[in-house]
Amino acid sequence: MEKFKNIIREYPFLGFIIAYLILLSVPSIFFTDLYQSHLASLIFINIIVAAGLNIVKGYCGQVTVGHVGLYAVGSYTAGCMFMYLGSDLWVTLPAAIIVTGLFGIAFGIPSFRLEGPYLALATLGGGEAIRIFIENGAFFNSTYGISSISQPVIFGVPFDTPDKYYYISMPVMLIAVYFSYSILKSSVGRAFMSVREDPISAAASGIDIKKYKILAFILSAMFAGAAGAVYAHLPPGYIHPNNYTVIEMVTFLAMVVFGGLGHIWGGIIGAIIITIVYDITRPLYEYQLFIFGLTIVLTILFMPKGIGGFIDKIFIDKRFKKKKVEEGK
């Protein structure tokens, strides 16, 4: 077991291959109906957004409330490319990532001068501006929304039902999570954290603050863009500006906060739990917002580092205690 752990630690890529194989077989073993596949795809999309948000918010400490705008950019890049050029996911996904990355620069520049609530306000304005721009533009077909966005076809097999689309959204999610993992585990992740903790002292260590701030914004924008494109193509392939409001933004933030800000798996844990809990509480729609508000307040009060931080604490305390006991002997 210990040997196995070391191998994974040395080749994290292997871990993701194993995860891929497991996830590949999950539907046939556990899923009893198509809705679970649909829900799984939604979870994967949320994971991509939350993993990206965790980079800029959790790791780099830049408060952004406009992320949903970037998600919308990704969706509408894919949607418009489909509508005007007939492109499918293989073209729209990279295009959405690039376009959204460029928008990420625009969102990152205010962070050079603004901090905390002021930056939050600036990004909030940016996100809402994007949605309202889409809503008012005839180019985006906002009256009816963009519909019947195509699903990819591989070897003549169309992936046009929730159970098949699972096999599209899942690898995209895994690749995104893998990128986020390897970025955050490297010196780049540490640089992000030091920018968050203390920019002055980070600069003294030779870390270029502006570069890393903008990099965090671009990276997380690219994640949001990828998620947006995967969502746009999710059957039945329909996007509408109503899905990119502040409420969605709060949900994304809740995922990252609940999962653990700045924890490498934080956004992922949060996205899974929040999406599932949201689904289970669907019939209790009258109390849903109350439940979510309460969850966030309680999390911040009693688990400021979210679930991820809580689990870490248990492990580290255990290890530390064990060491102390050994020393005592």
Partner: protein, 398 residues
């Protein structure tokens, strides 16, 4: 750790099971996806719940209990699609009622078509919805293509062709204005003298109205939700647009808040709807009283359409359950066929509602009778007069 994991998964599993498995195999399952955010939204939900409860207390349909599953879609397509998928595949309902917003109903159609679950629409008016050709979709309200015709004809022939449009970025409001613009262009060859989409949640429309006034129009079309319609009407007098300019609103104007809050400004406003609260038929009077007593509001056509839908659904389900075999796919088709078999249903709507077998808009836009209504008095004791009722041919306006 392992203990924690197992206990968490047990909780999730049992919660999921508890919620989904209360119903029994013999029940008729009705799924609802709806915008239930505002006060009125909740009341629509209550109307369905109360009606179904009443059915159950009367012994159900053909002895079968009706099991109602109510979800909120918040007028968001993402949630609407998820609800439709969940209702179709996980909750295994026989029929879906939904949704309020056209932008939610539209993407639900391919989902329920693939799943082969009949869906019946209480509110969405966008003509695109039934043009998808799905055999599983039914619309109770009047399609925007009929509103466009009646409104366009009435306006062009009785009010004038120099028209300005101010509309807000809400799907129904946008569709109403845009389809009318299109219709005026194709039918009479006139372009709007001025058309503008207001910003989201805007409250001051005077700058737009000033521009509209400068264009010296015969008619101003003010298409918005309740509050916006009221504001636009009041502000149109504030900027000095004379009474002689005709004011046209969308079907939202049928809601009681509009004449009450707009007061004098409501006088002369013309709109088209499927139902007028001033309807003098006994069935309508009884309905208005019932809603007023039970929910404390004067019903607009959103309530009447929901009531009509439920009243149509009951006999259809009675007919379908007679043929229920226990095979879900066959039962769903039986429900679909039973709904498609409804002809000349006379309820609260101003005209009869009929469906037919194929999935064309001719068959599935059930109500073809919009009413043109005009406010003759505003304020608390508002009064309306029916300016005209037309029953269109099924293929008109396509």
């Amino acid at each position: 750790m392992k203990k924690l994991k197992t206990s968490i998964s047990t909780i999730i599993l049992t919660a999921g099971l508890a919620i989904t498995s209360i119903a029994q195999a013999n029940d008729i399952k009705i799924g609802v996806s709806f915008r239930m955010l505002s006060d009125v939204g909740y009341k629509h939900g209550e109307l369905i719940t109360d009606t179904v409860e009443q059915w159950n207390s009367e012994g159900g349909i053909n002895g079968r209990k009706i099991d109602l599953i109510l979800y909120n879609d918040e007028c968001k397509s993402e949630k609407g699609v998820a609800n439709a998928t969940k209702l179709a595949y996980q909750d295994k309902v026989h029929v879906i009622i939904g949704s309020s917003c056209s932008s939610v109903t539209l993407p639900m159609v391919p989902v329920i078509t693939k799943a082969k679950v009949p869906q019946i629409i209480p509110h969405s008016t966008s003509s695109k919805i039934t043009m998808t050709g799905s055999e599983y979709i039914f619309r109770v309200p009047v399609s925007s293509r009929f509103y466009k015709l009646v409104q366009g004809k009435f306006t062009a022939e009785q009010q004038g062709k120099k028209i300005t449009y101010i509309y807000v970025p809400d799907q129904a409001s946008m569709v109403f204005a845009k389809e009318m613009i299109e219709y005026m262009k194709s039918e009479y060859g006139v372009d709007p003298v001025y058309a503008v989409q207001a910003g989201e949640k805007e409250t001051d429309f005077r700058s737009y109205l000033m521009k509209a006034k400068a264009a010296n129009p015969d008619v101003i079309v003010l298409s918005g939700l309740v509050d916006e319609t009221v504001r636009m009407l009041v502000q149109s007098y504030e900027v000095g647009i004379p009474k002689s300019v005709h004011r046209v609103a969308n079907s939202v104007a049928s809601k009681v808040e509009v004449p009450t809050n707009a007061g004098k400004a409501a006088v002369g406003v013309v709109y088209s709807a499927a139902f007028a609260a001033s309807d003098t038929r006994p069935i309508a009077k009884k309905f208005v009283k019932k809603i007023k007593d039970r929910y404390g509001v004067v019903p607009g056509h959103d309530f009447s359409q929901m009531q009509d839908l439920l009243d149509m659904l009951k006999p259809a389900l009675t007919k379908a359950t007679a043929k229920f075999s226990g095979d879900l796919a066959a039962d769903r088709n039986a429900v679909r066929d039973a709904i498609a078999g409804i002809t000349n249903f006379t309820g609260l709507a101003s005209g009869p509602i009929s469906f037919c077998a194929n999935g064309s808009p001719e068959c599935r836009d059930g109500n073809k009778t919009p009413v043109m209504i005009k406010y003759s008095r505003g304020g608390k004791n508002w009064k309306t007069a029916v300016a005209g009722t037309v029953t269109f041919n099924p293929s008109d306006g396509l």
